[in-house]
């Protein structure tokens, strides 16, 4: 059912990427862009395809600390970028799973910003510019390297999160931030995840906004479920914010002893399970979504409570159960999708789709960028 690639190509320049795309269009070969060597999508279909790796499109192109912008080629790892930024007291406030190992191009293509979006905005708001090569080999420069950078329609927005369905990303310009002087991590533990929902709600309506608020079923071996809150700022504001939150919630938080280790554990939890589902809903539906997801008997549940976005790790998926969970979540106005398919190519079950009208527009845009249907994930949708 799933096909295997003919080979992996490693272009080292935009022009080479374009050449590959043009050749592929002519030969009727499919292209599957790989950013950091990982892919979560099964490839289904008869036609031969190549994997295109961006690992050789590597390196920071431009970094002007005073402008708070950094441009890097697509294959540059976030760890490399982070190192460069930290040297100037700056950072990129994204915390999707295993962020350090990921490449900036892949991250932008997936569009996953992690729970820190609550305090800093989503990744799509931080991508100031991109260079891409479309399915038919056209090289485009989108956006720029200034904070307000859109002259014309904002093609960056659909590009971020398009997962390779429109073009191969070859470089990304990011808006970066000064590092906070204090990063305080607060914990609230309860025996059951559902016992933390009320507290999570209160955080979502508190006059003080933490930079992230995450519910996690377990923070380590033998640990109980927790609500993990992060506050950024200077000592005075973090202290005041904590007091204000505690006052609003009527509880006292535990301060995490090793904040970094805990945040990393929460951030990566369950991201490499055999099957990973992502559920979204409105925060008011947190409890119902948890109930629907618990019926899948997941290995892990992590929820960004401000977005009401859940990441659920499963050892294996029962398509019927996944279908039921999807139906319940869609009834709540939310969505359920697969973020990682099982390695064995087994069926996961029906997940949420854009509406037919949205789908029409999406297909139209895909055809605009990739008229020959070279880019694999796009083709599978048509």
């Amino acid at each position: 059912m799933t096909a295997t690639p003919e080979s992996v190509v490693h272009p080292s320049s935009d022009a080479e990427v374009a050449e590959i795309m043009i050749d592929a269009s002519r030969e009727g070969v499919g292209i599957f862009p790989l950013s950091s060597g990982h892919r979560a999508h099964p490839v289904r279909g008869e036609r031969p395809y190549l994997e295109l790796s961006t690992t050789r499109l590597d390196g920071i192109v431009e970094y002007e600390p005073a402008d708070l912008t950094l441009t890097a080629r697509a294959g540059t790892s976030l760890a490399t970028i982070d190192e460069a930024l930290r040297a100037h007291g700056q950072w990129a406030p994204f915390d999707p799973p295993n962020v350090g190992e990921r490449s900036i191009g892949g991250l932008a293509a997936v569009g996953d910003s992690g729970p820190l979006w609550m305090g800093y905005g989503e990744l799509r708001n931080h991508v100031l510019g991109m260079t891409v090569v479309t399915g038919d080999g056209r090289m485009l420069s989108l956006g720029g390297r200034v904070v307000k950078n859109v002259a014309g329609y904002d093609l960056l927005k659909p590009m971020v999160g398009s997962r390779g369905s429109l073009a191969v990303v070859t470089s990304v310009c990011l808006r970066v931030y000064p590092e906070p002087s204090v990063d305080r991590v607060l914990l609230l533990r309860r025996d059951r995840l559902s016992d933390l929902v009320a507290a999570a709600h209160s955080v979502g309506t508190a006059p003080v906004m933490p930079v992230s608020s995450v519910l996690v079923d377990r923070t380590g071996v033998n640990e109980s479920p927790a609500l993990v809150i992060r506050l950024h700022g200077v000592e005075e504001t973090v202290g005041a914010d904590q007091a204000s939150l505690e006052g609003h919630l009527g509880i006292v938080f535990e301060q995490a002893p090793s904040a970094t280790a805990l945040c990393t554990a929460v951030r990566d939890r369950g991201a490499t399970s055999n099957v990973v589902l992502v559920a979204s809903a409105l925060p008011s539906a947190l409890s119902e979504v948890i109930r629907a997801l618990e019926r899948l008997e997941p290995e892990t549940i992590v929820a960004d409570t401000y977005a009401a976005r859940f990441r659920v790790g499963l050892s294996q998926a029962d398509p019927e159960a996944v279908g039921n969970a999807r139906a319940s979540i869609e009834r709540l106005g939310g969505t359920l999708r697969v973020a990682r398919f099982p390695a064995d190519g087994a069926e996961v079950g029906p997940t949420s789709e854009p509406s037919p009208a949205e789908k029409d527009l999406i297909i139209g845009i895909e055809k605009t960028f990739d008229p020959m249907g070279v880019l694999w994930p796009a083709r599978s949708r048509r």
Partner: protein, 469 residues
């Protein structure tokens, strides 16, 4: 001369929205011949003012069948001519669709009709301790539908980001009158493409948003505002670099230059800025009360280290308003001292600001024009204002040439031709400075996905009228 609509089209429109909301008298249409950019004037064939999504859809259907161009219009405050009528077009205004449909404090969301005024939304959400963050200078009058079309910014978007960060869902009427729901706060766009993000900022060329879902934020506990007075623009620019580089995250950083200070102080809006100062810098912090003085102290230190002559600090709302007055009244004041005013808009990397400003001054001298600068220094968004008199044709020509040079200058410095006013009709000719033909063609094709017959706002944003016919 505009062609009147055929009687049966007028009848059709009247049946949809009622006679009072279809305007066809050429005299009455005069008031629609410009938006906030009054340098351009085109009378539309008619103006239709629908009251509901369904009415918009019916109007669009009818006009589409007749092949008549549609020009969407909000409050008509845009500064790039985005709502300028086309001679063959009908203006569809959203002024009557001004209802806040729902405020949902639990999820920090609001759903509004497109004609709701930006500031009214914040007024309405205040009782819940919430506000709507994007604050364009025209927020007391501009509408959310217009903000969506232009992806509006404002002084405080330095910290909070522009409109697209806050729009979570849209109901739009597309070509042919299709009503389509895009996104939604509970729905994960990663399952498809970010169509909401693409629609925001499409300048009325994709369709008309008839319902808008936006995210709200909790109102900051406190605010501190500083006004720094500097001898030279360089010193003020230096202070900005220091502040931004020191790890502080101000909510707004605004500069007005000497020419603007002079204009303000000479007007009925005198704000008490010293007229011999080279620049005035407004820095604002908001957030947790406990940290505000700390931030303000550090910013004040940055100002003095950069050579500030004086730093004033506001601790009450009245004092805050007084410090902002010179900045906020700048455009009005300039309107008093010159018959015409061209408000330019461009962005450059912040570090290039001093260099670019010096070059703009040089351009002003060379063309013998008064150019006064007001800008969002924190994100490098410049608003050079050229003062002139339209009736002087020779001067008008110099204004145009100077304007073009400024655009080239900003693009060469690594910036772009618009920060927040949009391309509209005014910047259309500069699009080729920032996009090659391949990119322009891509923009045209994406627009065609939404509006294959190019009836919405034809002739806006994209250059080369050939492609539009």
């Amino acid at each position: 001369m505009t062609r009147p609509l055929a009687p049966d089209v007028v009848r059709g429109l009247t049946e949809i929205v009622g006679a009072a909301n279809v305007i066809t008298d050429p005299d009455r249409l005069l008031v629609y011949e410009s938006d906030g950019l009054s340098a351009y004037r085109v009378s539309p064939r008619a103006v239709v003012l629908p009251g509901t999504s369904d009415e918009v859809a019916a109007v669009v259907t009818l006009l589409h069948l007749e092949g008549i161009e549609i020009v969407p219009r909000g409050a008509g405050t845009g500064l790039s001519g985005g709502a300028l009528p086309t001679p063959d077009g009908v203006v569809v205004g959203t002024a009557r669709m001004n209802r806040i449909i729902e405020i949902d404090p639990e999820n920090r969301l609001a759903r509004v009709q497109p004609g709701v005024i930006n500031a009214r939304l914040t007024e309405a959400t205040q009782p819940y301790g919430l506000f709507y963050a994007p604050d364009p200078s025209s927020q007391s009058t501009c509408t959310l539908g217009g903000n969506v079309a232009e992806n509006s910014g404002g002084p405080h978007c330095l910290k909070y980001g522009v409109t697209s960060r806050y729009v979570t869902g849209l109901t739009v009427v597309l070509a042919g009158g299709r009503i389509v729901k895009l996104g939604g706060a509970g729905r994960d766009s990663a399952g498809g493409l970010d169509l909401v993000g693409l629609f925001v900022g499409s300048e009325g060329c994709f369709g008309i948003a008839t319902e808008i879902e936006v995210r709200l934020l909790p109102i900051a506990e406190g605010v501190r505002t500083l006004l720094g007075i500097f001898e030279t623009m360089e010193a003020a620019g230096h202070a900005v670099t220091e502040i931004m580089g020191s790890g502080l995250l101000p909510a707004a950083v605004e500069i007005i230059d000497r020419a603007t200070i002079e204009a303000v102080e000479a007007s009925i809006f005198a704000a008490g800025y010293p007229t011999d100062a080279g620049a005035a810098l407004v820095v604002e912090f908001d957030g947790t009360e406990a940290g505000l003085d700390l931030g303000a102290d550090r910013a004040e230190k940055c100002c003095f280290e950069a050579g500030a002559r004086e730093v004033r600090r506001a601790t009450s709302e009245a004092e805050r308003a007084a410090l902002w007055k010179g900045r906020k009244k700048a455009f009005g004041a300039m309107g008093r001292i010159a018959p015409d005013l061209l408000v330019q808009d461009a962005t450059v990397p912040r570090t290039k600001l001093p260099e670019v400003l010096a070059r703009i001054a040089e351009i002003g001298e060379r063309y013998d024009l008064k150019i006064a600068n007001v800008f969002h220094a924190g994100d490098g968004n410049l608003h050079p204002n050229i003062l002139f008199d339209r009736k002087n044709a020779e001067e008008l020509d110099r204004v145009e040439r100077a304007s073009t040079e400024i655009m080239h200058l900003c693009v060469d410095a690594g910036g772009t031709i618009t920060g927040e006013h949009g391309v509209g009709i005014d910047k259309r000719g500069y699009m080729s400075l920032v996009h090659n033909e391949t990119e322009l063609e891509m923009l045209r094709s994406v627009r065609a996905v939404f509006d294959p017959d190019r009836l919405f706002n034809r002739g806006k944003v994209l250059p080369d009228p050939l492609a539009e016919t």
